[in-house]
């Protein structure tokens, strides 16, 4: 994110301590009363001035959720979450959607500036032109949708995008301006009843991004949503919907941070992607929620449902994720490969340090003929971190000629951490080909010494070796994002050696 290209430096210069995004901002907030019941769902819907069909949809989700049990199958441990002891709505008090950036609370603009994300377009362009040691030529600006706690505060480059017929706005805005699209696709990939946290999200989601790329359009810039949890208490329940019409192409980036707090906060998001014939969606995430302290106090519970449907022939959905933050990550970005010759990809780096736990992976559902999927997962465990890759490759009898390649590599740093690989393969098609490779390794003493002899500190050496281990995944990220991710990997492992 060139908008975020200098994030690390910018943030390092304003904060101290292991987690460098741990500041909070003083902004007046409006909260819904604590707890969750039908009235809260109605309150949220009313606050957002939603049409009746959406309120109905939320209430149905809430009814489903009430009958569901918290999932226990993931290899993560946490005390039971009291869903009545949380806020489900928090918004800056002047949440009247600002008409222009000049109306945005200056404190908010400052927060994003601290994170290195200028929300003024001219600032973004200036930032891009002046950035880094590579020439600015040919670099694309990035359009940013900034979501602060529950509310989208700003979306940049809207006008430029509208010229191509591209819609990029908050989902709340889309509900009002493009109800036909939202109504048709919302919940069409992740239904309300999909799982406990998806049902919860469907009932109480507050904001998120909406993207529509029209037929045959190649989105001229990277689209990006930046999530920031700031308020004390509430969870973040955002909902993102991306539609790529036939022959279109879009690359979407997602970044996130949260302040350092002692209590756990819940992040239960849902992301739905739909790709029609010949469309391509590339979805990249650099997740850096507050991971909790070294003893495991505080941190975000990141329980997220992400799924894409390759509905059209030759469509392609590619997930790339770099998961460095959160106390617990529970996340399986998946692809439903319906269209013939459609392609699903999952590239993942997950780091767990100190007491962090990650149970992450993907599901690839091969339904169309000649569908292809590639899974590359790199898990890094340090400290007392626990890292599980959980994956499912399901090939239906009709998926003639389907192919999957899975590679799962684990890297252990120290002897108190754990790495686990749980790959499920369900192949019901004779002509399909499924390959699985897995390795587990440690950073060797001779590698560390070699680097240190050349002048690197032990931490720099670990950072370099870990980045090497993750190279196949990092190279899938858009360039500026990759630079940020590399630094983040090194920072996340601080204190894991020596």
């Amino acid at each position: 994110m060139p908008a975020v290209a200098e994030t690390i430096e910018a943030v390092q210069s304003v904060t101290e301590g292991g987690y460098k995004w741990g500041f909070s901002t003083d902004i007046e907030m409006e909260f819904a009363p604590k707890g969750l019941n039908e009235d809260i769902v109605r309150f949220i819907s009313a606050k957002k001035n939603e049409p009746a069909w959406l309120l109905e949809w939320r209430l149905k989700a809430f009814a489903i959720w009430q009958k569901m049990e918290t999932p226990v199958w993931a290899a993560v441990q946490h005390p039971p979450i009291d869903f009545q002891d949380a806020f489900y709505y928090a918004a800056p008090t002047n949440a009247q959607k600002p008409k222009s950036l000049d109306e945005v609370d200056p404190e908010l603009l400052k927060t994003y500036a601290k994170l290195g994300i200028p929300l003024k377009e001219q600032a973004i362009l200036a930032g891009v032109e002046g950035a880094g040691d590579t020439p600015a030529e040919g670099r694309m600006p990035i359009a940013v949708d900034a979501v602060f706690d529950s509310v989208s505060v700003a979306t940049t480059f809207k006008d430029r995008l509208e010229k191509d017929g591209i819609i990029f706005c908050s989902i709340s805005e889309a509900v009002h301006k493009h109800p036909e699209l939202v109504r048709e696709y919302l919940g069409s990939v992740v239904p309300q009843a999909d799982n406990f946290y998806a049902a919860l999200n469907s009932a109480v989601f507050t904001d998120g991004s909406f993207v529509y790329i029209p037929k045959g359009v190649r989105c001229p810039m990277e689209l990006s949503t930046y999530f920031r949890i700031n308020a004390k208490g509430p969870g973040l329940f955002e909902r993102t919907l991306i539609l790529a019409d036939a022959g279109s192409h879009v690359s979407y980036l997602e970044g996130c941070t949260a302040p350092q707090r002692d209590e756990n906060q819940l992040h239960a998001a849902v992301v739905e992607l739909v790709a029609l014939d010949d469309a391509t969606i590339k979805y990249s995430t650099v997740q850096n929620w507050y991971p909790g302290d070294a003893e495991g106090k505080g941190g975000i519970y990141n329980f997220v449902t992400k799924r894409g449907a390759c509905r059209g022939a030759r469509s392609k959905i590619s997930w790339t994720q770099v998961e460095t933050g959160s106390a617990i990550t529970w996340k399986y970005p998946s692809c439903i490969l319906l269209g013939d010759d459609s392609v699903g990809e999952f590239y993942s780096v997950a780091i767990t340090n100190n007491r962090q736990q990650a149970d992450t992976g993907t599901k690839m559902f091969h339904i169309g003929r000649n569908t292809k999927s590639t899974i590359v997962s790199k898990g890094i465990s340090a400290g007392r971190g626990q890292n599980t890759y959980r994956g499912l490759v399901r090939i239906s009898p009709k998926a003639v000629g389907a192919r999957n390649f899975t590679q799962c590599d684990s890297l252990l740093i120290g002897d108190q951490c754990g790495a686990h690989t749980v790959p499920y393969i369900e192949n019901r098609c004779m002509s399909a080909k499924v390959e699985h490779e897995a390795t587990t390794s440690r950073i060797a003493e001779d590698q560390l010494f070699y680097c240190r002899q050349r002048g690197l500190t032990e931490e720099e050496a670990v950072g370099l070796i870990v980045n090497g281990f993750c190279r196949e995944v990092l190279k899938e990220l858009p360039m500026e994002f990759a630079v940020e991710a590399q630094k983040l990997l090194a920072i996340s492992l601080e204190g894991s050696v020596g």
Binding site: A444, D446, R452, Q453, G455, L464, G468, F469
Partner: protein, 246 residues
């Protein structure tokens, strides 16, 4: 000046170095020869600070500074370089990235300005040309899939870029073909000067035809048993350690 006095060291409780005394004046190149297992690599690791090599006695100073108290990276920043007997592979870490990271880490530690990507590339290309290395080696993972000789040459490239004050070359000639041997020797000779010194560990007199040493030492059983001029290497070559070293 590198000054080693009464240095003893052990690995896993087993004494390997039995009291080494050696003086390497600044500007000189000394060769160390000795049978397999005599402690040559151990000496190089002790000097560069590898974990697990425990110093049990004696002292080592470089230009008057006690280097045994320093971390390996601090020793590197003061100008100590070790060309490894077995250079290590770093999968996925690009050679260029590694070299630039190392160069800048050392420059930072010395309070010098870092070199940017463009400057570095120019520098690296010039050095590679001198070492007759193909440029695509910059893009490959550090030593990954390199042939034995290529790994050695890659270490010498690192040395050429880092411009150390004290280089320890541990059997850098082993596994090199005749042309590569000359190229590597040229690389070392190019650094020779009043501010550079080197310890060249080798089994073969042949290398010393190209890198002519000021002194030759014989290391046996963890001790320097004999020292002499370049002619000592010829004597060893002709008679073996059994006769010549004692």
């Amino acid at each position: 000046m590198l000054k080693i006095e009464g240095l003893t060291a052990e690995i896993d409780g087993k004494t390997i170095l039995n009291g080494i005394d050696l003086e390497l004046p600044t500007g000189e190149v000394h060769a160390i020869m000795g049978p397999n297992g005599s402690g040559k690599s151990t000496l190089s690791y002790v000097l560069s600070g590898r974990e697990g090599y425990e110093v049990t006695g004696g002292s080592v100073t470089f230009n008057g500074i006690d280097i045994l108290a320093m971390e390996p990276e601090e020793r590197a920043a003061t100008g100590l370089f070790l060309a490894f007997q077995y250079p290590v592979e770093l999968p996925g870490v690009g050679n260029a990235n590694f070299l630039r990271t190392a160069l800048n880490a050392q420059r930072r530690a010395r309070g010098e300005p870092e070199v940017d990507a463009m400057q570095f590339l120019k520098l690296a290309r010039a050095k590679m040309k001198a070492l007759n290395m193909p440029e695509d080696m910059l893009k490959r993972g550090v030593n990954v899939g390199f042939s034995g000789g290529e790994k050695k040459r890659n270490d010498v490239l690192q040395m050429a870029l880092l411009e150390p004050k004290l280089a320890i070359l541990d059997e850098t000639d082993s596994g090199l073909d005749i042309d590569a041997l000359k190229i590597v020797a040229d690389g070392v000779n190019a650094l020779r000067g009043p501010a550079f010194s080197a310890l060249v560990i080798t089994h073969y007199q042949r290398l010393l035809n190209y890198i002519v040493p000021d002194r030759v030492h014989v290391l046996m059983g963890g001790r320097i048993t004999r020292s002499g001029g370049p002619e000592l290497a010829h004597e060893l070559e002709a008679q073996g350690y059994g006769q010549a070293a004692a």
